[in-house]
Amino acid sequence: MKDRYDVLIVGGGPAGSTAARFAAQNGVSVCLLERDREIGVPVRCAEGVSDTGIRKIIDINPNWIAATIKRFRFHSPTKKYVDVSSNEIGYVFYRRIFDHDLAVEAAKSGVEIFTKATVCGFTKTEDGFTNVLVRYENRERTVQAKIVIAADGIESRIARMAGIRTNLALKDIESCAQVLAGNVDIDPGRIDFYLSEKWSPGGYVWVFPKGNRMANIGLGVNGSMAKGRSASEYLNEFLDQNFPNASRLTTIYGGVPVTTNLSRLVEDGLMIIGDAAHQVNPLTGGGISSAMAAGKMAGIVAADAIHCGDISRKKLCTYENEWNRTIGKDYRRFYRLKEWIRNMTDKEFEEIASAFQGMAPTDVKISSIFRMAVKNKPSLIVDAIKVFAGF
């Protein structure tokens, strides 16, 4: 580890590795620090991605793909279901391999990566650079950087150290539990969602196939609606009722921010990306491809700022503005939809399922399901049409 770098990135998830690669490819020196012993582990994710989302950032390696998804099924509380076929191709990934490979690509671009390296704090130097306090193995040291990129995931404490409030409101977090279930009888090319207040209040249950009779089965419970029970208790109940014979090959827990992104994504010499910036689709909870999109934007802008010798908030705002104009704008619409759907009752879910009974999957569009869901809230219909255009 050297004493100074142009760009120092905190966190080796999809956001950090992508930002690192694009900054390095644009000609600046980059160091990436990851607290854990191994990039990509532990996996706290259902591993579902869309082909277009990933392909915008990186070519898809077949080794990442556990299952290819072409169909969706939504289950109502009484297990009526609605089948939807989509033109969009989805995958269930092996994130352990995927995150690892993203870091390998970053390293090949010249990024210096360290595991077991935790960022504990930082101070500003007189010339506007940042002295980053790093605990690496059993020693503390100071590394100087012109720009720090905070990609430290849901905890988002790096931005807090700079005085930005990143703590989530209870209604804006999904508390999640998941198992990799073995020996389950499922359609290997279909993703299933179960919607019910009883199984996962303010969230949903997912069944994402992973091949060989396995599936990631998990759920999210809204932080403000859990009624004193933990996500793991909800999941156990769901599994006992719906997959009583499943083996549980992996058990994981985690949280997903379901809100709009931080109002300030950059400060002088600091950029915030990925879960740390709350850049997750608040309706689906998908954050992998948006973390990477933000990483790409931030990496390119950071390198340009270094070349121009201007690391001010004003300069770095190119990234903030690009995000807010593009994905951020869509996600604000998704947030309004999520706030409505979060409060829907089992009776309403049942009504929607009933309305689509007997229809062929090719005739059911995701946009029509959501239009039906918001029919009593006309102001949201435009949102539903805009964000699901093409689905």
């Binding site: 854990d36 012993r37 977090i173 539990a177 932080g223 994981i252 949280g255």
Partner: protein, 64 residues
């Protein structure tokens, strides 16, 4: 004050993300609380996916 059941805490960081006072800090192998600045809002307890957190009277706290 907040007590962590270390037998079941999975170090997932969800509690850290909601703490308004930033009194929770995660390392790779340990969750640390600073009970001097905890305001007792219980947000962390409500979002823990495994129910590893609880509120206890000061006198209940066992030494580690």
């Amino acid at each position: 004050m907040i007590r962590i059941n270390r037998e079941i805490c999975d170090l997932c960081g969800v509690c850290v993300s909601v703490c308004p006072e930033d009194c929770l800090e995660l390392t790779e192998t340990y969750l640390r609380t600073d009970n001097n600045i905890c305001i007792g809002c219980r947000f962390c307890i409500k979002v823990c996916p495994v129910g590893a957190l609880s509120e206890v009277e000061e006198s209940d706290e066992r030494p580690l």
